[in-house]
């Protein structure tokens, strides 16, 4: 594409320069990371609550980069939980069923809470597995009984 193309002109983020909200937000992340390292305090920043120009969110994500963990959750539509290049800084993006972004958060934590298996789900899963095994056992007993009768 020609650099003089009008689309490029309209995109005021086309340069590599940091824009107005990118740098303060990255400093906020830096301070949050310091607090995590020294006081084990976690922080969450809602990217929807900050006025960002076109391209600024991409610039923030580009600077934070991609780290060691990428997880895709299947929860009411999908969600991506990605650790950035900076350990302890995670980007959590929630999508609806049409894969449209409905929320994006920067979480500064050792592990985003949504990644953990939840106590309620664990309790429900434990009951479900026990029932499943009971059913299997009953089916096995029924088929054994039928085999003996034959």
């Amino acid at each position: 594409m020609d650099q003089t193309d009008s689309v490029i002109h309209f995109n005021i983020q086309a340069s590599d320069q940091l824009t107005w909200n990118v740098e303060p937000l990255l400093h906020e992340v830096k301070h949050a990371l310091e607090r995590l390292a020294t006081e084990d305090e976690t922080s969450v920043i809602d990217l929807r609550s900050i006025p960002l120009a076109p391209g600024e969110e991409d610039r923030i994500l580009e600077i934070l980069g991609l780290g060691e963990v990428v997880a895709r959750l299947n929860v009411l539509g999908s969600s991506d939980v990605v650790e950035t290049e900076y350990s302890g800084v995670w980007v959590v993006t929630h999508y609806n069923e049409n894969e449209e972004t409905i929320g994006r958060f920067i979480e500064v934590t050792r592990m985003p809470e949504i990644l953990r298996s939840q106590a309620e789900d664990v309790a429900e899963a434990s009951e479900r597995l026990a029932l499943r095994l009971e059913d299997e056992q009953q089916e096995k007993q029924t088929s054994n009984k039928l085999a003996v009768e034959k």
Binding site: R48, V75, L76, G77, E97
Partner: protein, 365 residues
């Protein structure tokens, strides 16, 4: 429409019966907090409140309106999370969305009002004609009678859209139907104003969710609008604000300034006098908002925006007593913003008073 037994369930029960995992519920709470413009620190409290929230009955009345507000609301339904909100309220009457019609629809409304007297949430879009009740009726009942009857047993009223909140387009000069807003007529019930033409979809669902979550009204400004969404001006949250502060303005829609994304103040932008969440929440699932698409804000969430002077005239241009001096002085100093805002409001008032009716001859010139 939910069955009677469903209404006894808490939202937590409803979600579990839909097979929604705790992890999904947490996602729901995180996006709900974001939607209600609340701090992420509030997420655990929202989770606890939502877990125990009961399904409220909602009655939605539409009067002199264009159905744009309902169109907007249904656009919010693209998301599974927002669909869950509607699973968790009992929308007992909405004559555009409900399947029932005629007497059966009116009976459903009567039943919901009777069963939930004093507890239901009344949502209203559209203004109410006071000159002649025959201008707008539903099932032979005038808008005024229907509103007053439904308001009597409501816990709270949400006026959705600029018509219900301030009279809107029907009230525009010369106001042929004598249109008035909900708050002009009802003084003894809590009213939440959710203006906009239309309001942002998630602002409508956000206000409903706030009531569902906390069972109380959100904090309101002096015009009865929730501060979470209407607490800051478009101008203060606009990503083009730094251009305004530097005095860099687009002068026409196709000049170099417009192409470079400079401030649209001189092209009539109402951002400095308009309070709404467009600049951060944005439209079409967060895609953009009018200024991002290169068009000035029309100020649709402010009272009498239709009569506030030409949409493409800068706020400081219409009257000689304000003049261009303010524009250039303020452009150089952000500190002047507050004073400019006050002058802009005065200007808008003068423009309202000076507004003259456009005749057919004018249009044919």
């Amino acid at each position: 429409m939910a069955s009677h037994s469903d209404k006894e369930k808490t939202l937590g029960d409803v979600l579990r019966s839909h097979g929604v995992s705790r992890r999904s519920f947490m996602k729901y709470c995180a996006t709900t907090a974001s939607m209600m413009a609340m701090s992420p620190a509030m997420i655990p409290m929202i989770a606890e409140a939502l877990e125990n929230a009961k399904k409220p009955s909602v009655i939605w009345l539409s009067f002199q309106e264009c159905t744009g507000c309902t169109e907007s609301l249904t656009r919010a339904g693209a998301s599974t999370v927002e669909n869950l909100i509607f699973d968790s309220i009992s929308l007992d009457y909405h004559h555009t969305l409900q399947a029932a019609s005629g007497h059966r629809a009116e009976e459903a409304k009567e039943e919901a009002m009777h069963e939930n007297h004093g507890k239901y949430l009344l949502v209203v879009d559209g203004s109410i004609p006071m000159d002649n009740p025959g201008y707008s009726t539903i099932a032979g009942i005038s808008n005024y009678d229907m509103l007053m009857e439904a308001a009597e047993g409501a816990a709270a009223i949400i006026a959705v859209g600029t018509c219900a909140t301030y009279g809107g387009l029907p009230k525009a000069s010369p106001n042929p139907t004598g249109a008035v807003s909900v708050s002009d007529l009802i003084k003894d019930k809590p009213i939440i104003n959710v203006p906009g033409c239309p309001p942002i979809p998630v602002v409508i669902t956000g206000v409903l969710t706030h009531f569902l979550t906390f069972g109380a009204l959100p904090e309101l400004d002096d015009l009865g609008r929730p501060k979470a969404f209407y607490g800051q001006s478009i101008h203060d949250r606009c990503y083009r604000r730094p251009f305004y502060d530097k005095g860099l303005f687009a002068e026409t829609f196709d000049d170099e300034g417009a192409k470079a994304g400079w401030c649209l103040y001189k092209l009539g932008c109402r951002g400095p006098t308009t309070y709404n969440a467009c600049a951060t929440t944005k439209w079409n699932n967060g895609t953009s908002f009018p200024i991002e698409s290169g068009h000035p804000c029309l100020g649709c969430s402010e009272p009498e925006f239709w009569d506030g002077g030409g949409f493409y005239k800068a706020l400081s241009i219409p009257t000689a007593d304000v003049g261009e001096t303010v524009l250039y002085t303020a452009a150089g100093a952000a500190a002047a913003g507050v004073a400019l805002g006050a002058l802009n409001r005065a200007t808008k008032g003068s423009a309202n008073k000076a507004h003259e009716k456009v005749t057919l001859e004018d249009l044919e010139k």
